[in-house]
């Protein structure tokens, strides 16, 4: 895109769990300012890719570069200090911490200087969290937990936001609200987003570009609209063929 190097570049990445191969040579580029999505069925390797970017587990082969720096073998906590943030699969809210403490943890990589500003900003995006401020994370509803997971990720002021299935198990209304926030962050602040989803329809409509992953391999790529129009995608990931 415009001849600029990608913000995140994944080249030939292979990841293994013991003797099971989960990623078989994945190539993905994410450019600054884009929303890129990866769709795939359950077990395709989407979460593994998200976690491999963050160095847990480490890629057995291939390279991952972020802002031109090779992060393939960097420890997770160092990668997360490079303005990458993830809202992981299952949300992983700290259950015995309050909403506020969860957000403070999100800002752990910062020097806390902008904490109040950033807190105000995520409360504007997700007003419900403000009401739940003192409540323990474990007592929130699924939708609130997802909002908190994204808000927590935003507290580190990331340039690249990794989102793993934010729509999973949520009511359509809430999904729409969350996807609207993602779009708004991208449009108004130029936040780069890499979104992994089984919910292909919404994800492809939101994203500028998309990839399809099957069994740890990329089988298709194109703009969101292109992929939505393809029969194979419709058959496998949209109504009727959803599995």
């Amino acid at each position: 895109m415009n001849g600029k190097p990608p913000l995140l570049s994944i080249r030939g990445v292979e990841t293994w769990y013991g003797k099971i191969v989960a990623l078989r040579g994945v190539d993905v580029d994410v450019y600054k300012g884009e929303i890129v999505t990866m769709i795939g069925a359950n077990g395709a390797g989407k979460s593994t890719l998200m976690m491999t970017i963050c160095g847990d587990p480490k890629a057995h082969a291939g390279t991952i570069t972020y802002e031109g720096i090779d992060i393939t073998n960097a420890p997770t906590h160092e990668i997360m200090h490079m303005s990458i943030a993830q809202s992981p699969e299952g949300r992983r809210i700290f259950p015995r911490m309050t909403v506020l403490e969860n957000l403070q943890m999100g800002a752990a990589v910062t020097d806390m200087e902008h904490f109040d500003d950033d807190l105000g900003r995520v409360f504007e995006l997700f007003p419900i969290l403000k009401n739940r401020k003192g409540q323990r994370g474990g007592t929130l509803s699924g939708g609130e937990q997802q909002m908190l997971a994204i808000a927590r990720a935003l507290m580190s002021r990331p340039k690249l936001l990794l989102l793993d299935e934010p729509s999973l198990g949520l009511a359509p209304m809430i999904v729409k609200q969350i996807f609207d926030v993602i779009r708004e962050l991208n449009e108004s602040e130029g936040l780069t987003v890499f979104l992994v989803e089984q919910n292909a329809y919404h994800a492809l409509r939101l994203a500028h570009r998309g990839y399809v992953m099957v069994n740890g391999e990329i089988t298709m790529t194109g703009t969101g609209a292109e992929l939505l129009a393809r029969e194979e995608v419709q058959a496998a990931y949209l109504e009727g063929g959803r599995h």
């Binding site: 997770t76 700290f94 259950p95 911490m97 580190s156």
Partner: protein, 311 residues
């Protein structure tokens, strides 16, 4: 009534020492899910370092009170520092390399570390008990009553005041550290979800090391108290006190910080009251029986968190 009051004072003193040790068990369990069997021996090492430091500084009871307090604070810092180094080393050498291996592995090395520390002190310091001349003497008589057996006086010694006050101060500071500071927050985050903590940029290995360091330092405080209170130590004190403190941690709810403090106090009280009203011989049985009964009705301890959580 007077007798009761005296047992209460004694029990609180003993419970303070157990509570300080129990914190180390519970925090390590909370963060990596293992019982650090060597923790009682870190307490013992702390007591020995305190003894060495006191001997080196060469102060005795007749030294002025101001100087004694100053010197004891120095001794406290020295034994906390050294014990912290021991705690850090144990984790680094014996537990970290085994992280991610089968669950029993670190438990086995923990027992190994415990034996190694005992033998090391036995060789370096000798197997015989080491006495310490009383440094802090005196105290207050709270009440005196005539009984059939003569005059009974409820005594609160200066050393007991020192132990209880120091413990209260340390536990308050420590609770604040865990509840309010970013360091404490990271510690709790690692306890609840290590993978997620790492995803938020927390250096998990360093946080685990720190947990060992802090636990060891608090155990060293207990070591110094034990030394001052009983006046004798040997290489084996870590085993007995360790088992008691571990029992305290389980009673309070392993993994729970207030639980460890409460459990420590309770075990101390149960032990003294049992010895005071029944017989000294079965005081350990009493403590363990109460533990067993509590665990039947409250499997995760008095203040422990239930295992199931909403996802």
């Amino acid at each position: 009534m007077e007798y009761f009051l005296q047992q209460l004072i004694n029990g609180l003193t003993l419970g303070s020492i157990y509570g300080l040790i129990a914190i180390g068990y519970t925090m390590v369990y909370g963060i990596i899910g293992m019982i650090n069997f060597a923790h009682g021996d870190i307490f013992m090492v702390g007591a020995f370092i305190a003894l060495i430091a006191i001997t080196a500084l060469g102060f005795v009871a007749s030294t002025g009170i101001g100087l004694i307090i100053l010197a004891l604070m120095l001794v406290l810092v020295i034994s906390m520092l050294f014990a912290a180094v021991y705690g850090w080393t144990v984790e680094r050498l014996a537990y970290r390399p085994l992280r991610g291996s089968f669950r029993l592995a670190p438990l086995i090395t923990a027992i190994g570390m415990s034996i190694a520390l005992q033998n090391y002190v036995q060789i370096a310091q000798g197997a015989r008990v080491k006495p310490l001349q009383p440094i802090i003497t005196g105290g207050y008589t709270i009440t005196e009553t005539m009984t059939e057996n003569g005059l009974f006086a409820v005594q609160l010694s200066n050393i007991q005041i020192l132990i209880i006050v120091t413990t209260v101060i340390l536990m308050t500071l420590f609770s604040l550290l865990i509840a309010k500071t970013s360091l404490g927050r990271s510690q709790r985050a690692c306890e609840q979800d290590r993978k997620m903590a790492a995803l938020l940029g927390v250096n998990v290995d360093r946080t685990i090391s720190l947990t060992f360091v802090v636990g060891a330092a608090l155990a060293a405080v207990a070591g110094l108290m034990f030394l001052l209170y009983y006046g004798v130590i040997d290489f084996y004190i870590g085993f007995v006190a360790g088992v008691k403190a571990f029992t305290a941690a389980v009673l309070g709810g392993i993994g729970s910080l207030p639980g460890a403090m409460l459990g420590g106090l309770l075990i101390g009280l149960i032990e003294t009251f049992w010895s005071g009203y029944f017989t000294v011989e079965y005081k350990d049985v009493a403590a363990f029986s109460i533990l067993a009964i509590v665990l039947i009705f409250m499997p995760s301890g008095l203040l422990g968190k239930p295992e199931v959580e909403k996802v």
